[in-house]
Symmetry: C2
Subunit: 520 residues, 2 copies
Amino acid sequence: MVPISAIIMSAPKTAIAPTRAEDFPEWYQQVIKAADLAENSETRGCMVIKPWGYGIWELIQQQLDRKFKATGHQNAYFPLLIPLSYLEKEAEHAEGFATECAVVTHHRLEAQKDEVTGKTRMIPTGELAEPYVIRPTSETIIGAAFARWVESYRDLPLLINQWANVMRWEMRPRLFLRTAEFLWQEGHTAHETAEEAIDETRMIHGLYEEFLRDHLAIPVIPGEKTENERFPGADITLTVEAMVQDKKAIQAGTSHFLGQNFSKAQNIAFTGRNGQVQHAYTTSWGVSTRMIGTLIMAHADDDGLVLPPRVATQQIVIMPVTPKEDTRDEVIASCQALAETLRHQSFRGDPLRVHVDTRDLGGGVKKWEWIKKGVPLRIEIGPRDIESRKLCVQRRDQEISAKAFPMKDDFIREVADMLEDIHQNLLKRAAAFRDANIQACNTLEQFDAHWAQENPGWLLTPWAGDSEQEDELSKRHKITIRCIPLESVTLPPDALAALAGDCFLTGKPATVRALWGRSY
Amino acid sequence: MVPISAIIMSAPKTAIAPTRAEDFPEWYQQVIKAADLAENSETRGCMVIKPWGYGIWELIQQQLDRKFKATGHQNAYFPLLIPLSYLEKEAEHAEGFATECAVVTHHRLEAQKDEVTGKTRMIPTGELAEPYVIRPTSETIIGAAFARWVESYRDLPLLINQWANVMRWEMRPRLFLRTAEFLWQEGHTAHETAEEAIDETRMIHGLYEEFLRDHLAIPVIPGEKTENERFPGADITLTVEAMVQDKKAIQAGTSHFLGQNFSKAQNIAFTGRNGQVQHAYTTSWGVSTRMIGTLIMAHADDDGLVLPPRVATQQIVIMPVTPKEDTRDEVIASCQALAETLRHQSFRGDPLRVHVDTRDLGGGVKKWEWIKKGVPLRIEIGPRDIESRKLCVQRRDQEISAKAFPMKDDFIREVADMLEDIHQNLLKRAAAFRDANIQACNTLEQFDAHWAQENPGWLLTPWAGDSEQEDELSKRHKITIRCIPLESVTLPPDALAALAGDCFLTGKPATVRALWGRSY
């Protein structure tokens, strides 16, 4: 027998091993595993999204979809396979995706007996005259449809969104953050004028910022990508950049003004108000299952996932405490009744999602399972609580040991406020972390020294360099300009100093402030 | 100038040409075009689903998804690409899909200059050691995940559903009914015992029947497929069969009991209550965008689409009648106000979907557009209606010219009943049509003569033939046994006679009644 003291000594202090400080990438994998969110499959680079993870995606999808519809967009669906010739039309775009395209070349299989092993194998046959590419993104195929649909300025704007799977062959896949297949939404719009298309690009940029802040509790920095970092084929790429707990950046969503690049390549032309045939201005924009990776890296802790309430598959889990068989039914009934009452309450417009865990497992096992799954509120109700009309409440954003024992009626009245408080607390914590890790930088010495540190934060610099200089610095330090933050963005006081000086590299008067960082 | 009499003479009598009677297949294409539901794309056999058509799919999806969740299923997502070796594991299954598989063989493209034309072309490169197939269905890849997930009987049942795109290379595609890529849901479950798995298969079969009847107003005949017609790899295939207006059958949804065929091929094994390792019993079931095709063929008429209210992208369209500029604003405001009031009403649990069409188009043009799109209720409000507090209501399930002029308040009070009445009316009409076109048949002469007719209906026969005999009859008449209807199904009185006699082919005592028909 192992002595109890030895068990205690060897027990890990946290539910996730290794901790964030010990090994961040491995911690990330372990959080996903412990929360049962997703797993790798035998299809190279492709993941299986398990119910607890897919539930988060369904909530993201529902809540974003409402916003898209409220701003006049309609959903549609376009083919998965893109003829190679479509891709060839926009050279920069084709080049941008060429190295990561899955190509369909055959359309049937034939059984063949292997002479050596005697086994029957399926062999591709029916070679296609023109191969197809599985969409890495749909500008080309949606553009071809737009070209058919648009004739007059009266047909504009065309505001379309698609929820779909896309495929980009990834050499170094990582669950949610970078997978060969991922789920996303891609908006595609066509407009009469450049101004309208730019307005749309900006509106969606704002919508993404707001969504990340108000739904995922992630405070992003909105800004514009430099030419080096733009989407292949875009004139302007706007981005929202999130900082996660290892101080790296994640591009959480982008919206692109495509000018007339695609409309000329695909002939999206219309008769204008002046009677002249002209090319439309188009945009595209998207967020993906990558947001779930961002969410994990932004909020999870050494005990597992921490879910912001709005996208929590379950917001509240009620655990009946049933030490004795004779009170068991009563306790479970009381828990079910509370769950029903709570389901009639709402948080930010949606009914509460409440689960009662009646499984016959040890209380500790259950509790730790829900901690690792990141459920915002855990409730315990035991036989004595029924009489006293109290319950035990634990918040995932507080110490695991922290407990409150409110009256049940008070809890029901205040539960929405409590969820709101959890959301605000996660947001505040993430914003404080981000602000503490953005520094201003005015000299090249300081700049070079910064990136030699382990897990360096972001630098904000006055900038007037050109593309080649940017590229050289990027390669030297394995960094990129994450964005040129919008002028309206409030940055930490220290970082504001960056605005004062001349370009730290060229010494020329700075035209913009650039935000540099390592990224996923 | 063309004289008015000539215009009237040349005007088509119906909005859709040709009519159903003139050319049913072409009528179908024209209804889809006139309602702006979908169109062909340059990707062979793949369609673009346009917003009005995708809206129907979104409603089908939401409403079915609720039913799946209410019966304990959870959504998840599995890879699009299936390793060839997975498909090889279940031989019958592999063979069943071999002739229609899109195969991915390369994972990148390389730009190559064409020596002759001077143009740059993209060439597939990066050949894969093992090709992948785009899922034609996901039994094999989901089974592989189940094999990882299931260890003990405590992990069962596993009740999973996936909303996804799938691909089956179709040689004769037809919008919605048969496309190379289509959208669907596929349920996959694993159970401890055969009984539980069969119960699940039956429960979903009932759910599909109910969904088609109560949401799509389509009265289907539920039954079992014969061995010849089973899903490749299934022990039992249950189906719901719809009759459309050319009297052909459409298989609208299937649910399969897979026995241990897939669990043995993929080793979905668990330790049972008796401590023994055993194989699970699995099921799979699905409905697809094919349901939209069924819906069109079941309800549309010679003036275009007719939508059952529950799945109508818009249930009510309000058209302001604005003959004079000075009352225009007032009329539009009144329409908008009515729309808002109606949106707070609900029909079968969902808020009403109401659109106000304020476009500057002729009233006739607008009206016909919504007729062709199949909107259940059209409302017109003009300047004089505001004073009299009346409105003009037209129902899509009634004559185009039929109008009612209720008081606005009465209409608001009764609108949900009116939608219910439309639903019931469509259902009753379709059921009457179906019943009028199912005949009993007891002799081979009668049977052979029946199929020589143009557009023959279905035949219900006493049956005791074997697979080969079934196959021979099927080939002779280009028909199939659509199903062996459940014993509980009530069939038209005439058809019931079929139960009386011996098998019409073999003269043996009939073991079942078989329902024969031509199908899509």
